[in-house]
Symmetry: none
């Protein structure tokens, strides 16, 4: 096949290092995870951004979190139209097959996807408005959020929209019948988080006030 190359040597070396240490020390557990299947307690939906590491923030190890990562940690609304919906498939699998107890949406500061959405909504990014822009069409999910924050002060609007991305996703999650019924049966709880990359901060969405508060 075209374009396929061997793994860069530095990754080969790092892998062998992991195999000889962390894997070797946990072989028994990894074998059980393989033979008995995963049983994660939570699903996390976070951004692809290389600076967001849910596993390090939560000191996570193999088997704990079912993690879906996409641009700007967005969940579209329920649309059973027979088309391919990767995020909806991940949510469906986590809730109906794995029956996770928590569904966590983790937003973050300096989000390039959210900034793109802002530029698009304010007319500064015509290329994102084209039909062929995958990032643009994906960020359409966040357009309703823009309507709610657009009157914020300019220096606050990006952060507000990042948090709105979390709210939009949580709201859309509840449009999925299997999410709603699991929540109503008290088999599932939803959680909204936002992390500040530079300061290492973490805020959670308080449903009573609809505000983000420091954890």
């Amino acid at each position: 096949m075209d374009g396929i190359r061997p793994l860069p040597a530095y990754l080969v070396q790092r892998y062998h290092g992991w195999k000889a240490t962390q894997y070797a020390e946990n072989r028994a557990w990894y074998r059980r995870l393989a033979s008995e299947g995963q049983r994660p307690r939570a699903m996390v939906i976070s951004c692809c951004d290389s600076r967001v590491h849910v596993t390090s923030i939560f000191g996570a190890d193999q088997g704990e979190f079912f993690i879906h990562r996409n641009i700007a940690n967005l969940v579209p609304s329920y649309e059973p139209d027979g088309n391919q919906h990767g995020t909806s498939a991940a949510v469906e699998y986590a809730v109906t097959a794995l029956r996770v107890a928590h569904l966590i949406v983790l937003g973050h500061s300096e989000c390039g996807g959210v900034r793109g959405c802002l530029d698009m909504c304010e007319g500064r990014a015509p290329e994102l408005e084209e039909k062929t822009s995958f990032v643009g069409r994906w960020m359409d999910i966040l357009r309703p959020g823009y309507e709610r924050v657009k009157d914020a002060a300019p220096e606050l609007v990006t952060g507000a929209l990042e948090k709105e991305a979390v709210r939009v996703s949580l709201r859309n999650l509840m449009t999925f019948p299997f999410v709603r019924s699991s929540v109503e049966a008290e088999e599932l709880t939803l959680h909204g988080l936002w992390t500040d990359i530079g300061e290492g901060g973490l805020e959670w969405l308080d449903p009573a006030t609809d505000r983000f508060l420091p954890v």
Copy 2:
């Protein structure tokens, strides 16, 4: 909003532990990552499975990998139809905005999504064939791969299909014009990997033989 609850205490506690140790020790770097933006060398497309940890396998830290995770590490083919394609958006962002040098598809053993696809293709999972099944429709991406492995011995067919998922994704990646042109300009290389969860093995797709070989 419905269903939203505070973060479970065990995660709150782990976060505070991370903040006081790993974050504190790396504050300077995280602040630079926040102020100067990310510049990841590679994008990794892996499965949501809680047992697959690309960051630990490659000893990765904040800033190194742009990571998209979905069910069965699948990439659909290029379809600029104006609909929402989360995976395509992530690939577009990584290749055109971040200009990553490597695009790695990481498959794995015991993949529940792949097993579901197999059941569906062999008629044992009618529920996945329904139009409303997000997992089923998502796994349709892998159907061409099933055709190529269906005559394998029963004990080998699942593993073969897991590796076929990597091949299908790599092939579909090359249908994206911006991926193809970056590959042709020698600004991007593609890599196919498959990891054995229980044994900690790692195999790479050798384009010369089209086979997976131990790293």
Copy 3:
């Protein structure tokens, strides 16, 4: 010019091997590093000794570490006297131009420079005391360290002085105004390490106890 010869054939051959393999597999990344500039996370100050390989110990690849290597990994104190100070220039460039997040001083066992310093301080190396001895004058930086370890048992004094070289360098680093201000602004952290060449050990300087502990 006098004395200049073609590169020995064994190095020519190794270079061509690297070009055809590691370079070829990483061309995209190297080109980006060339066009966008380096952004190393850390500066490492280590010894010229051929047995000390920071890049292999830390699985490093192109772009990760800004590396200054001199005899005995020494940093002189801040002396803005208009003379040529190569080590101070390297530190200045790393901290003020590249804004590295970590500054690591890496000492090592069997250090010839440190042994020379010991011989000189104990009167066994009059040739190093001459004004014209570059090694002797360079090792003068470590003389204050000798005062602190001279009463150690004979079989321990060399190792103690090697570790003292790390402490002296760290202390001298803090005499540079730009290092101190970056540390105080929490934009830079200092780290002291010592590696045992034969045993592959690595120890870090614990500031709480001022002792070296295994990593």
Copy 4:
């Protein structure tokens, strides 16, 4: 001591990986290197730049190269004035104590130090002309080289100055009596190299023509 922190966790993990693999596989050799001392065949003087890896270019392993790295791979001329000259100390140790057979000066493209020198010589960097600028004073070594390239076309002058840095260093090396006598005794050869970071090229200084030619 101020500012000292534990080693970042990702480096701890990578070190343990190295210890369990590369070290473990070479323990016998590393122990011999420790007990019998180093015996490197060549000294390399290269830049601190994180993109220049002499060890990977030459497929080097522990024990092969005595490596001094400073800003812009410069060697000052012989000045036995009793002051601290780190580069001169490294050269003295390599030639008189280790008696290396080759002395290689390795320059490179996109050199920030050389660019700074150019800016300084052309009046665009007054801050580098100050007495307190360590980088500026260090780059004074290259000023004679600027005189020889200043009339080159603007798009060629930086590359020409990078190569001049190699020539200046080689010329200065021959002002050291112990270098000259070793060269004359045919116990030492000098070599000038320049590497193109993005293209992976390597050129050597041909003394017959005083030009750099592809290796």
